[in-house]
């Protein structure tokens, strides 16, 4: 038995560009999320006391408090960014429970793309908050000798972010697949519930870590 854990099956070739399963599922999740968010926003604007509006408010408040507590700062762009990350990863974990549809986050390329987004958001937020000089000066503190360590820490936490999400999501599916092969129907149901819990927890943790990293970049130089 040699399951294809690290590859990504190509569905269609669009000329020279492959259209893989991960691309299709992640695009579909994004489209569903955008439609649902638009419906919730319309409900809030039109009928303020409806259940849809309450759901939209609750979701927004949950994400805003989550990001604000982790980043320690009011920063609407960060709330939108980290909240979108949470919604995408959580929706991917839920979609991954459907039969035959693996979560896009159980692909290393997809999780690496999410981690690279966080990696790029850190200096962007820092430069927007502190200016180019103010942000990049912190790489030379407390001593210019520590510059390589700063760079290594940024790179290694990006790799850790992507590998943590990938490993958790992929291992859950692997365990469920093994139990299905060994025991058959209904036995893997508790493990699927555990997989769903782990997926939602990983979305929470990814969001908190992204908020902490960006929040630290925003607050660069405040302590000195």
């Amino acid at each position: 038995m040699s399951p294809d854990l690290f590859g990504d099956p190509v569905l269609v070739w669009l000329g020279p560009f492959p259209l893989t399963r991960t691309m299709v599922t992640s695009a579909a999740i994004s489209a569903i999320l955008i439609v649902v968010a638009a419906l919730l926003a319309r409900a809030i604007l039109r009928r303020d006391d409806s259940r849809m509006a309450a759901l939209g408010r609750l979701t927004f408040r949950f994400l805003r408090d989550l990001v604000r507590d982790a980043a320690g700062e009011e920063w609407p762009a960060l709330e939108a960014f980290a909240g979108s990350l949470f919604l995408f990863i959580a929706a991917a974990a839920v979609v991954g429970q459907l039969p035959g549809v693996p979560a896009p986050t159980s692909n290393l390329a997809a999780t690496s793309a999410l981690a690279v987004l966080v990696f790029l958001a850190v200096p962007l937020a820092g430069i927007r908050a502190r200016g180019v000089g103010g942000y990049f000066k912190h790489y030379l503190k407390p001593n210019p000798l520590l510059l390589p360590l700063h760079i290594i820490s940024e790179l290694s936490r990006t790799v850790a972010l992507s590998l943590r999400l990938f490993g958790n999501m992929m291992s859950g599916h692997l365990v469920v697949a093994l139990i299905v092969a060994l025991a058959g129907f209904f036995v893997p149901v508790p493990l699927m519930a555990l997989d769903l819990l782990i997926g939602l927890l990983q979305a929470y943790i990814f969001t908190i870590l992204a908020s902490v990293y960006v929040g630290a970049a925003i607050r660069v130089g405040e302590e000195s």
Partner: protein, 87 residues
């Protein structure tokens, strides 16, 4: 035994060993986090939200070392670049 089968045997043994050693470290660390979290919850029940949140984040950070070991052992088993049968 051919060179390929020796490589495969080594990969399988190393995958099991990686997972065993990696799981021990993460288990010890997570047990300490759990104990410290319970202790903090018993002392300050009012701060339950913040304690639980930070505890989950710390658990995920420690857990990720075991996940790295899992990824490495899965690479050894299913995507090994040196064994012609795998990957």
């Amino acid at each position: 035994m051919t060179a390929q089968s020796i490589l495969a045997l080594g990969s399988i043994l190393t995958a099991g060993f990686t997972m065993a050693v990696g799981a021990v470290g993460a288990a010890l660390g997570e047990s300490r986090i759990g104990a410290a979290g319970m202790d903090a919850l018993a002392r300050q029940p009012d701060e339950a939200g913040a304690i639980t949140r930070n505890q989950f984040v710390a658990l995920a950070m420690v857990e990720s070392t075991a996940i790295f070991c899992l990824v490495i052992s899965l690479v050894l088993l299913f995507a090994n670049p040196y064994v012609s049968g795998g990957g």
